[in-house]
Amino acid sequence: MNRLTSKLQNLKESNKKALVAYLVAGDPDLDTTLDLMHLFVDSGVDVIEIGVPFTDPIAEGPTIQKAHDRALKNNISLKMILELVDKFRETNTETPIVLMGYLNTFISHIDLVQSIGENSADSILVVDVPGELNLQTYGITNPNINTISLISPTTKDDRVESIAKNSTGFIYYVTLRGVTGSSNLNIEEIKTNIQKIQQYSDAPTMAGFGIKSVEDAATLAACSDGVVVGSSIVQMIADSSQSKEFDRIGKYLREMKTAIS
């Protein structure tokens, strides 16, 4: 079974919530990204989401945009990212990895995406492909890769159903109208919408996009199967990119993991 599917299933069976943490590959450099991935795992992260940098990331707020720009200055490509995953897998074969990015970077390297093996990345999340469109249409048919679709507060009921059915990894519930890192969470709306999604699908539903604090994470975990944290970590990475002292990130993630358990 796919590493991501079984991990999330195990968590659910033991009544635990998943902590998904995001970083951008190559920000500030690939060696540091590798160190950070291990730090994530040591601090309680269940799933790592690796941002694949793109010149025009239309769903990202300023914090993650800047991280994409920094990574692109290092000429980070999908090939380098898959090599990074290989290195990570030398010592960690447990933690699921999701590649999150934009369609153009994946279809430009369709051969690479198709050749991803069992011991590599586990899932792909393409931000600019609507949920009911199948990635197979774009030549992504690799059985080792499952797909994650997004559902947002503006998704209408009939589409919730078809998107939920298409999502093989987890369903990513976008908790606000906005780009990553915004801050206008509406908890009541989120609760109602996640309940609606769960009527249609047994796939785990993760909440993400505006989680900025341990408190946000705790609140959202209470009504979902887990949370995705991105911008706040990416900001901490940027703040410490010179010193490379990332203890603060470890502490933040450990607090988060405790708060959502």
């Binding site: 239309i58 999908l78 153009n104 279809i107 609507p130 503006t154 976008v174």
Partner: protein, 401 residues
């Protein structure tokens, strides 16, 4: 009357393999709402009447098809006709589309208008129609374009709109589009996004085409009246492709008319420093649509180069990509230098100062008139006037005010 009899795009918004809706999920609902509204209104008599009434009384349509005597003499062959979109209110073709889209916004009850702009013409056209209806308006513009189109920036502000300079990426049109999309994702409930070209996700390329098609329809009637047949060629510059699509579209089934789109060749197509995706790009996905795109082998979008802010864009409307592949339209490029030469030439010969974008279309007359036979009628779409470019041209000519 209907806007368009085209079979394209298909239900999913594709022109052949180009187009589509590649957007974050949050926008899917808004695109569907827009498509449903447009499909309902485009055959509604009241809506059509209101649109054409605004085009004649507010924009000043129809624009003339003007015989360019001295330019014709200059090339010593054929007859050159100018479709005078430069005479429209606000000075370019962009107003045709904004007059139509603001009506859609009104029918949808949206209170807040956003738009991206490159040369500033679309920003001016949007701020103008928003002012007319008293709607809050925000214009995103690359910081580099804010600098080189300062006159239009001031015009937009005078019209009561807010200008947001965009510093990210290359700080030009593509980055302004990114930022407008981000605004839309955030404020989708009460905001209408008026895209300025035949680009972006479905249904925008279709809607912008249909509203601009008034240009081509007028040319068909005027050609019959003025020279009794269809033109041998229609020439238009191509940035995102809205002025070209507007004049080409009614001609698609008129096979005797060659359709020629002129892209920005910048330093020259062979140098790689240009903005000519149809000449030197490959298919990719940007800003919600699949189309020809300037990108590197990793799928990263390349920076573009053009003296003309309105053509300085790495993508192009999906219907142009399709017209290229099926061979119905031809796409060529001219360099900055050729465009600047044409800018001066047309200004001096005809007393008409074209926009730098439009100057690209004029520059292609040089090879084209040699190739066509002496009885040929050629229509150039004069997409806009050049007042906004005086600072840029003066700077290049080493003149300080």
């Amino acid at each position: 009357m209907t806007f368009s009899n085209s079979n394209f795009p298909d239900k999913e918004g594709f022109y052949g393999e180009y187009g589509g809706k590649f957007v974050p999920e949050t926008l899917m609902y808004a695109l569907e709402e827009l498509e449903n509204t447009y499909n309902k209104l485009k055959d509604n008599k009241d809506f059509i009447d209101e649109f054409y009434k605004d085009l004649s009384h507010f924009v000043g349509r129809p624009s003339p098809l003007y015989f360019a005597q001295r330019l014709t003499d200059h090339y010593k062959s054929g007859s050159i006709w100018l479709k005078r979109e430069d005479l429209n209110h606000t000075g370019a073709h962009k107003i045709n589309n904004t007059v139509g889209q603001i009506l859609l916004a009104k029918y949808m009850g949206k209170k807040r208008i956003i738009a991206e702009t490159g040369a500033g013409q679309h920003g001016v056209a949007t701020a103008t129609v928003a002012a007319r209806l008293g709607l809050e308006c925000h214009i995103y513009m690359g910081a580099e374009d804010v600098r080189r189109q300062s006159l239009n920036v001031y015009r937009i502000k005078l019209l009561g709109a807010h200008v947001h300079p965009v510093d990210s990426g290359s700080a030009t049109l593509k980055d302004a589009l990114n930022e407008a999309l981000r605004d839309w994702v955030t404020n989708v409930d009460d905001t209408y996004y008026i895209i300025g070209s035949v680009t972006g996700p479905h249904p925008y390329p279709m809607i912008v085409r249909d509203f601009n098609s008034v240009v081509g329809k007028e040319v068909i009637d005027q050609s019959k009246d003025l020279f009794g047949k269809m033109p041998d060629a229609v020439v238009a510059c191509v940035g995102g492709g809205s002025n070209a699509m507007g004049i080409f579209h009614p001609f698609i089934d008129i096979k005797e008319t060659r359709l020629i789109g002129v892209e920005a060749g910048g330093e020259g197509v062979s140098t790689g420093e240009h903005a000519a995706p149809l000449n030197d790009g490959t298919p990719g996905v940007l800003h919600g649509a699949r189309s020809y795109l300037m990108q590197d082998e990793s799928g990263q979008v390349k920076d573009t180069k053009s003296v003309s802010a309105g053509l300085d864009y790495p993508g192009v409307g999906p219907e142009h990509s399709w017209l290229k592949d099926i061979g119905r339209a031809e796409y060529v490029a001219v360099s900055d230098d050729e465009a600047l030469k044409a800018f001066h030439e047309v200004t001096e010969l005809e007393g008409i100062m074209p926009a730098l974008e439009t100057a690209h279309a004029f520059a292609y007359l040089e090879p084209l008139m040699k190739e066509l036979d002496s009885s040929a009628n050629v229509v150039v779409n004069v997409s806009g006037r050049g007042d906004k470019d005086i600072n840029t041209v003066a700077e290049i000519d080493g003149i300080e005010f």
